[in-house]
Amino acid sequence: MQPSLFADPTPRVYSISAITTYIKRKLEVDLTLQNLWLEGETSNWRQAPSGHVYFTLKDPDASIRCVMWRSSLPRLSYLPAGDGEAVLAHGHISVYEPSGQYQFYVDDLEPVGLGALHVQFEQLKARLTQEGLFDEARKRTPPPFPRRIGLVTSPAGAALRDVLNVLRRRYPLVEVILSPTQVQGEDAPPQIVRALQALSTVGDVDVIILARGGGSLEDLWAFNDERVARAVATSPIPVVCGVGHETDFTMADFAADLRAPTPSAAAELVTPDRDELARRLRLFGAQLRAAVGESIARRQRLLAGEMRALRRLSPQTWIEQRRQRVDDLSRGAQATIAHRLALKRERLSGLGLRLTTLNPNATLARGYAIVSHSDGGQVVSRVAQVSPGDLLSVQVSDGVFRTAVQDKGESATNNQTGGNRP
């Protein structure tokens, strides 16, 4: 029953491009094909000059062409050396239109064994996260000055030596309780759990360091064990995880209260540094001295103020002030007296001046004369006072002579002989 083009009255003819696009879209809406892991063996491994990698994945009965873009390569933790490796590849299936081939576009690659571990890891992580085991709210802060540190690690490992070296250098005041355990192999997880639990029976352990030196993902696998993760999360003592690894965290890291990239870093995280403490102690000493110095200085200032006040109020000051007052008063008195004397002196010299003007001798010197009766001494100042024949004394500037009155002239016309004022 071949369909005949001519038997169909309205045949639909598709272009190659159209049908290829149609097929491509069919594949791309299929959720299974868009997010899947494939397990197979690599072959025809080839990296093009562009950097993209082309290869084929196959099992005994089938094969599929694969492309891995150059941009995916840096994210891979593992790259097959070439053909014949059993891998687990993650990606999606689509069509390369120019050649009409469907291909697996790979974005992640794991070696088969690890791939399974990886899936297991992610599932466990999701489950424990869901359960709240890794909640930030569960995280505790270890005390700043631990007295006892529990150390869960192998007694034969480098991690132990590293941790002890750091503690000796930073904070030798601490006491270390080693709780020995294997950290690798099948027996490791239950031993780690027991070693953790044992530390809570000792008493007074402030913080636990769970340590292991660096190693491959398989080496560290014990720290991804669910039992270990639970024991870390439920430990009554805070746990710091110091498992050496470069990229991914282990389950124990997620469960721990604090996590550090190495055992040494974990030891540093839980202890103060001796040098830093010594520096702070010096600072405290300086602060104490400064505070006491200031306290004393403040009192000295107060004291000086009080002493000034006291001096102001002392009897000595009282006396000095009175003495000064006396000085002031006496100075005032002297000034007053001097003033009065000056006034008197001034008045005196005024009087003297007037006295000089009134001195009759001065008048006589100018040619006036005082005429008086020789007997009785009465001063003659009017014509009527004399009669002819009267004896008169005439006083002039340098002496007295006598004379006699000859006759009398008319009064008020001749004052020549009168003792009048000039």
């Binding site: 270390v176 309780i177 070693a195 000792v202 306290s295």
Partner: protein
Amino acid sequence: MNEIDNLSFEEAFTELEELVQQLEAGDLTLDQAMALFERGMALATQCNVQLDASELRVQQLMSTSEEHPSGEDYELGPFEEYLPD
């Protein structure tokens, strides 16, 4: 003040830290200030002595019930540092 010798480093350090704050706050009598100062210096000395004199002590937990995996009996024993080759 001999009881200072019995303080742990943390106790001495924490007390010293508080004491410095108290002294710096300043509302103390001179006698109080001097007493705090003397105690503070003694605490600082004690802390320094502890820092300088301490040697890391390491002990090892040993199970006394090896045959019982769930046994919870442990004792502390001397630790012999394993010397790697």
